[in-house]
């Protein structure tokens, strides 16, 4: 079956920012996103783990967004601006999908 080239944006960011990142994706007309939990990690701000934590403060989440290449810069520019002030990273990679109209 024919497959179409899309981009996969993977955002790892502190949990309290979830609503703001997804809100941005909404405003940028991303067709969807999925939030995946993370349980531990390390970055420039040191080590963290979710175990026993009541607060969302020192926890990260991962947000995945599949989007069209034509659309990707539109999303990435404000996204990077938002994320850069926070603890987290953004990566972009190539993926193929079946339903090009879906994204």
């Amino acid at each position: 079956m024919k497959r179409y080239q899309k981009k996969r944006i993977e955002i790892i960011i502190e949990a309290p920012m979830q609503a703001r990142v997804t809100g941005l994706l909404d405003r940028m007309d991303a067709t969807g996103y999925t939030v995946v939990p993370a349980i531990a990690g390390k970055g420039r701000e040191g080590i963290w783990t979710r175990e026993g934590q009541v607060s969302d403060a020192s926890r990260m989440i991962m947000i995945l967004c599949i989007t069209d290449g034509a659309h990707v810069d539109e999303i990435l520019d404000p996204l990077f601006e938002l994320v850069s002030r926070h603890i987290g990273i953004v990566t972009v990679s190539d993926v193929e999908v079946f339903r090009t109209d879906h994204f």
Partner: protein
């Protein structure tokens, strides 16, 4: 004085404190003992539920006190004053950046509900009663310090139109989030329901919120010990001696202000101890999360390690008996 030591000792060998110590030690020794995340959240929810409901049922039982409004007002004043003092002290004694100092100040202006709960436990063990509405006072003290910190950093621009705010929702969204923080809603909600349904309502759910309360608290303090110990292990390097010093002197300062406020309001000895405890305690759940959104440039490890690893144990082990003794000396007899 003998009294303080007896109290301190009784406090020290209470299961509640010992479970905290167990958790702290286990984390320092790098045991893999953990309390799963959702369980920790559920334990916190339970404590808010129980303490809120009991507070409300207490108000329903004893009738509404003229002092309630005064106490709420006192709470608000304390929660604005304390972060300002904290910020001032930090600017003098530590080398923290303005932003980090403001963030730490917000934590110390706000309150720790578990410290409050541990306080009620100690007060009750002394055979003292306390005003149920202090639960509501605790709730109103949670958020103002966050705004104080933001004002310290952003000044008046904080309240300017947020049309240009780079973040979705902007400031007004942020204010809504801070005001409707989950722990405030749970505490005030349970308080209101306890008030409406009164002692009869409390009777119905007593085997859930009263009887097993202390056991649940032990488990929660085990978890806090684990998290605090882990924080000390990984976050120690963020805490220079002056900052640690701040974490030890700020609680008595807050407690002293709380004592004055309690005297002005006219609280009972138990109530005075608890208002002191609230003023002395530092947030480690609600404020850290709010600041990650509102002041992302502040280093989270500093405030959190200090609040949870230094001030919480200090209050739990040394502070609360001290505040109790002071309250008894000043307000008692």
């Amino acid at each position: 004085m003998a009294d303080i030591f007896t109290l301190a000792y009784a406090n020290l060998v209470s299961p509640v404190v010992l479970f905290f110590v167990l958790g702290f030690a286990a984390a320092l020794a790098r045991s893999d003992l953990i309390v799963p995340e959702q369980i920790a959240k559920a334990l916190a929810l339970y404590l808010l539920f129980a303490i809120g409901f009991k507070g409300g049922a207490g108000v329903a039982e004893h009738g509404i006190d003229q002092k309630l409004m005064a106490a709420v007002l006192a709470g608000i004043v304390l929660s604005v004053l304390i972060p300002l003092i904290a910020f001032f002290i930090l600017q003098r004694i530590s080398k923290l950046s303005r932003i980090d100092a403001a963030a730490v100040a917000a934590h110390y202006g706000s309150i720790s509900i578990v410290t409050f709960v541990a306080g009620t436990d100690a007060v009750t063990r002394l055979g003292l009663d306390y005003e149920g509405y202090l639960v509501a006072v605790a709730a109103v003290m949670e958020s103002p310090p966050i705004l104080v910190a933001l004002l310290l950093i952003k000044g008046a621009s904080l309240f300017k139109s947020d049309a240009t705010a780079p973040e979705p929702g902007g400031r007004s969204e942020l204010f809504r989030e801070i005001a409707l923080n989950g722990s405030i809603v749970m505490l005030i909600g349970a308080f209101a329901i306890g008030w409406i349904t009164g002692p009869a309502g409390q009777e119905e759910i007593k085997p859930f919120i009263v009887d097993p309360f202390k056991g649940v608290l032990c488990l929660f303090l085990l978890d806090m010990g684990l998290v605090a110990g882990r924080g000390m292990r990984t976050g120690r390097q963020y805490l220079k001696p002056p900052v640690i010093g701040f974490g030890l002197i700020m609680p008595p300062i807050g407690a002293a202000l709380g004592l004055v406020a309690a005297q002005m309001v006219g609280l009972s000895v138990g109530g005075t101890t608890l208002l002191m405890t609230l003023a002395a305690s530092a947030s480690y759940i609600a404020v850290p999360a709010a600041l990650r959104v509102a002041l992302p440039e502040a280093k989270p490890a500093i405030s959190l390690t200090l609040s949870l690893g230094v001030t919480f144990p200090f209050n739990l082990i040394v502070g609360i008996p001290l505040y109790g003794a002071a309250a008894q000396a000043v307000a008692g007899g």
